[in-house]
Symmetry: C2
Subunit: 360 residues, 2 copies
């Protein structure tokens, strides 16, 4: 979907110098979120106090984890309050500053959420300098999603040359990077994606050895055909029927980093049987599987520098290709997230909220 999709917010799509638009959580979704779960509000642009900066959002990241924050189920993170601004990583520009480290005009990575303007005392900001080459990359391949790929694959997955790595959502923000890093490490890489176009892109552009369309009639059989030596690493960011197809193909001592389960994020209640938990546990035991969940910023607080150096180098050298799927305008963010959860995105989905322009 693009900005041309139906638009529940009859608002200007461009930023104002005086009005802050913000999208808040109107109600907690049941199942798939709908536009009515969000509400667009406006207020005056706030004024920075002593030690504070005023940030204007240029890019907003859309990520699957946001679905979890809309619910109040037990999780590692606090849910968004009803009426609270939706959370999200942003790339922003400093438009007023009372903070020596963040002069006006600088770019920063922040957690400003789904709004045009925000205040910060510097906590949690990461400076991108005055003229970053591709500022939006800090929301993807050079940011949290890229770091997730890097640590999850290398630290938990421990891929060895010649091993077979399977990656789901293979053309998405995470899957596409995991696949390319696994190739760099000398692995055979098989992607799973939704549709022939995505599969073609995975093989022809991202260099995967094979890609299986999970919309095809026989996912389990098609996957088995392209992993003749079984699966040594399965990078889990999807769950559901893809995991079901992978499970019987896992080799002894396979590793399964678990960073997401997007196929279940809209689930309501516990699905019908049969109960597949005993089968999973039997596989873990008899194949001696290591399965490990991780939340990148909690589990790896201190290796960001090494990641940034490596990943920037790989992009520079052409080893890692990266594609963005840009949704135009803050008002399109709700539909953008809904579509992301359906797998409609082609690459890393971000929202262009405002212009690159250095002035407010």
């Amino acid at each position: 979907m693009r900005a041309s999709a139906r638009r529940p917010y009859p608002m200007s799509s461009s930023q104002s110098a005086t009005v802050n638009r913000r999208i808040v959580l109107a109600r907690r979704p049941t199942g798939e979120p709908t536009p009515e779960d969000f509400r667009l509000e406006t207020e005056a642009v706030p004024t920075p106090g002593p030690g504070q900066v005023l940030l204007r959002t240029v890019y907003l990241s859309l990520d699957p984890y946001m679905r979890g924050r809309m619910s109040d189920a037990k999780s590692y993170a606090t849910p968004v309050a009803l009426g609270g601004v939706m959370v999200g990583g942003t790339v922003s520009r400093v438009v007023a500053s009372h903070h020596p480290e963040y002069p006006v005009g600088d770019w920063v990575l922040s957690q400003a959420g789904w709004q045009d303007y925000s205040l910060s005392d510097g906590t949690g900001l990461l400076s991108l300098g005055a003229a970053p080459e591709r500022p939006s990359y800090a929301l993807g391949v050079l940011g949290m999603p890229g770091y997730t790929c890097y640590m999850g694959l290398l630290d938990i997955g421990q891929p060895q040359p010649g091993e077979t790595v399977v990656v789901a959502a293979a053309t998405g923000a995470v899957g596409s990077v995991v696949a390319q890093v696994a190739r760099l490490k000398g692995c055979r890489v098989v992607g799973i994606a939704g549709g022939a176009d995505k599969c073609r892109y995975a093989v022809e552009e991202l260099g995967m050895d094979a890609c299986v369309d999970h919309r095809g009639p026989d996912l389990a059989g098609a996957l088995a055909d392209v992993v003749p030596k079984g699966i040594d690493v399965y990078f889990e960011n999807v769950g559901g029927k893809v995991f079901e197809a992978v499970l019987p193909l896992l080799n002894p001592r396979a590793r399964v980093p678990v960073c997401g389960l997007i196929s279940g994020y809209n689930a309501t209640g516990t699905p019908d049987g049969p109960d597949r938990l005993p089968q999973l546990m039997r596989t873990v035991l008899t194949q001696r599987i290591r399965m490990q969940g991780f939340i990148i910023m909690l589990d790896y607080p201190d290796q960001y520098g090494a990641f940034r150096r490596d990943m920037a180098g790989w992009i520079e050298q052409g080893h890692v290709k990266y594609r963005e799927d840009v949704v135009e305008g803050l008002q399109a963010a709700p539909q953008g997230l809904i579509g992301l959860l359906r797998g409609e995105n082609a690459g890393k989905r971000i929202v262009r909220v405002g212009t690159d322009d250095g002035s407010a």
Copy 2:
């Protein structure tokens, strides 16, 4: 059960110098094994050829994994053939020898299976010397089950002082040792066992901080009451309803070594729903759980020496107590295994097949 239980084999219960009794797999069980799944056969005691030794079985180990070998489902190990001798670890004496390393009269740990006599060329034998203090311990606390506890808890579980460790089948061959080693490492240890007697033994004799009877009316509630700070390590050797009670109590970054799933070994087919696999995966993700299956002799071929030194020292110093549940006579082995799978044993179950006597 003891040798007094019903006996499908109207045979002498003592060893002969000329006849080898052996128990073979008569048919593959459906669900719980029955005595009719086994058959007792006799043959002449074999004669050792050049380089061979003749072994007489003194003790036979009964272990849950044996149920798996009776089936021909995919596993890490080859199933017992129909008509083949049931597999099993034994402590045996050398009664005839053409092998310089194993003189007549020596004790050895071997894989002779469910029979009185066997031949060996030395492959896979471990010498216990001429006069071991407690030869049967080599089948339990100082053998494969003890090694399983040691590596599973210490290497995969990584228990830290002050953490809470939960152990199921807490008075069994593995659970009882895991619990005591965890106590040695400064952990709070909670056992789960079947019945008040076992629970009392777990607390009073084995030193656990608490023990929950899984036959009680509210396992989940009772367990929650005794782990006020949640669970950091769950040593999984049971599965089923115990795992279900543990899952919601796992702390962030908890570790789950998976060494057995005895509650499901007699299962036929896939159980009814609801499907709890998605719930497990969500817990793995949001709590960042590390779950790892292992098969001790495959995954840790080379740390047996360190284990033997440590464990022998702990027994010597009284830190690890060990109880055996001795079934009398080879003919009682089938019922002994059936009862073990029901949790009828009190401690490590072994079969006394023959006398300690040094002669054949």
